[in-house]
Symmetry: C2
Subunit: 339 residues, 2 copies
DNA sequence: TATATTTGCTTAATCGATTAAGCAAATATA
DNA sequence: TATATTTGCTTAATCGATTAAGCAAATATA
């Protein structure tokens, strides 16, 4: 039979004829409680299957020991790996995490923030939705006086901590790799410039071309949503050019896969005729044929660092948040598509 | 500047010189509060940026409006799709969800349950970790008197609601499909029999072979963890048999992909020499070449149904949980690997 | 031996929101 | 006009855990 009434400190106190204050202190090993009482309390707590009521203690202490996490989606390897590591670090410090997904929707992101604030989380770690341009809901977090840490998809204007990879530099690494393989006409299927990370990748790509004295051809620079379909469509367009590219750097593995499908369907040899590089190091990049060269984003490191930043901010008496960027160097994983 | 002190009902009450009880009622549109007061209260609440303290109301009402979700991993398309739909239904009913991952670990699953109970969730929806055999931590949920609903990976012994697909029947559908394509020696790379769903798939496979008057060959029935590596290893073993199978039914898409890699590497034509069927309809099944025939698990439907079961149980005054199975028919998605 | 300190508890207030009970004024009904 | 009902609030208790303040007994120190 289900035991409806939960055991409270008072139940234990009544059983032992002491005050519930003493029970509370005994449970927390307060030095002013005798060992005898502590043992008695713990024995009875176990007997009655006592489980502390988190709501009550969080209310009283003004601290929920919960951290809210907002990601665009959990079903990408990058985000789920970041979360896994984050959780490991935070659990050790006594925090639990609440995961929410924005599904890349601005509206959903706003709702998630409301939910998390309502749940009285002690802080929020977020990666912004693609749609997000207006930042007022993030300002709401800051005005609540709890730490906010952004990762991967961040925004300088919020003046909070950010952890991510060096997107600008990643483009340099990719372009240099392709130039070394002898490529002269390197195209770029990128994301929209309004998203900071994609803007940086585009800028890095252009500057890297300049560095290697290659001409900038606007017909080879594309902005898109970076879906698989976008990759297919843009690759098809490239194939129709009089002067085809001999390499394509795609800012997402999904779009890169779409491009690869089109190349395979048109019997164009990858890497000999066209070299291909993706971004994100999704597991499928090593599974398709030819396997796709891609950029690893240090997901575990990012998870660990965001969690540590939170812990550091949470321990401050007087929270002051500043723009504080932790930028990691990305790593190129060379596979068959660019060998 | 961060506004440290959060606005409470009392702050609004003081501003308007009424009691905080009146403010609380006004915020909830109590019929015994005048429209004038309601408007005033809402105006001041907005002005002071009032946000209700969930901890306090949950403590008082004995209801957190939170539902805990436990899944093996979030980075599979199946689970993230189930969660998305679950969330949509529960949000509409005023509930928010807390997602946790067990990473297929029994220990992590126990910790997650403790965390969720500690957070005073109003119910738990779970899919069990592979490792889980001992069910005492799930019994703990039941003895807490809150609803427990299982999906996909369930267990009859707990006597709670379960939503999933018909695994036994799925094997029949797959075997019949392969037989129709002319296959005579159909192998099965399955999960471990101790997990109910995998046991059902194995039983269904054996019974379907019998139905089609095909011999049962123990060397063609494998139990494994169903990782990509398992798929590779077992496929290699099959290739070394004197009498190779002409079809392989793999109980997970990841293991099926491993098998496909080995077949491709050994220049064995799929589907002409060996037909291949996976399970789960992960997105990559349509991306690899040849694309992999797989079984769709109705993730959205499962998400919706589990959420609805929770809502129905949560509305009961006197919670009674029984074994109550909702079994959906799976759908075979035929692709190139078995055409 | 007299005073100071430590030990081991209790008392009472508190975190914010909610709600049962109740009261006075306004309005409705007989 | 006298009584009943409704309206619109207030008062006070409550959910459970925590903690500042304090008290009496035990022990240590001068």
């Amino acid at each position: 039979m289900a035991n409806k009434k939960r055991t409270t400190l008072k139940d234990i106190a009544n059983e032992l004829n002491i005050s519930s204050a003493a029970v509370s202190k005994a449970m927390h090993n307060d030095s002013r409680i005798s060992d005898k009482t502590k043992n008695e309390v713990k024995r009875v707590a176990k007997k009655l299957n006592y489980q502390p009521n988190h709501l009550a203690s969080a209310l009283r202490k003004g601290k929920s020991n919960l951290v809210g996490v907002i990601v665009p989606r959990t079903n990408s390897n990058f985000f789920s790996s970041v979360i896994e590591q984050m959780e490991a670090v935070l659990n050790k410090a006594g925090y639990n995490i609440i995961i929410t997904q924005s599904n890349e929707s601005f509206e959903k992101e706003c709702k998630n923030i409301d939910t998390l604030l309502y749940t009285q989380v002690d802080g929020i770690i977020a990666s912004m939705a693609n749609e997000t341009v207006d930042l007022s809901h993030y300002e709401k977090i800051k005005s609540n006086g709890i730490p906010l840490i952004l990762f991967d998809r961040g925004e300088n204007d919020l003046n909070v901590d950010y952890v991510g990879i060096n997107d600008y530099n990643s483009s340099h690494i990719i372009v240099t790799h392709l130039v070394e393989k002898g490529c002269k006409r390197i195209a770029h299927i990128g994301g929209y410039r309004r998203t900071r990370i994609f803007n940086n990748r585009i800028k890095g790509y252009i500057d890297a071309l300049k560095k290697h004295d290659l001409p900038i051809d606007d017909s080879l620079i594309i902005e898109s949503s970076l879906t698989l379909e976008d990759g297919r469509r843009e690759m098809l367009k490239f194939l129709k050019l009089k002067n085809r590219p001999d390499a394509v750097y795609v800012a997402s593995d999904y779009a890169a896969l779409g491009a690869l499908q089109v190349l395979n369907e048109n019997k164009i040899n990858v890497p000999n005729e066209v070299r291909l590089v993706g971004f994100g190091n999704e597991p499928f990049t090593s599974l398709v044929s030819p396997s796709i060269t891609s950029v690893a984003q240090h997901s575990k490191e990012i998870g660990r660092l965001t969690a540590e930043r939170f812990l550091s901010l949470a321990s401050q008496d007087d929270l002051k948040q500043d723009l504080n960027k932790l930028i990691l160097d990305a790593k190129l994983i060379v596979r068959d598509s660019s060998k």
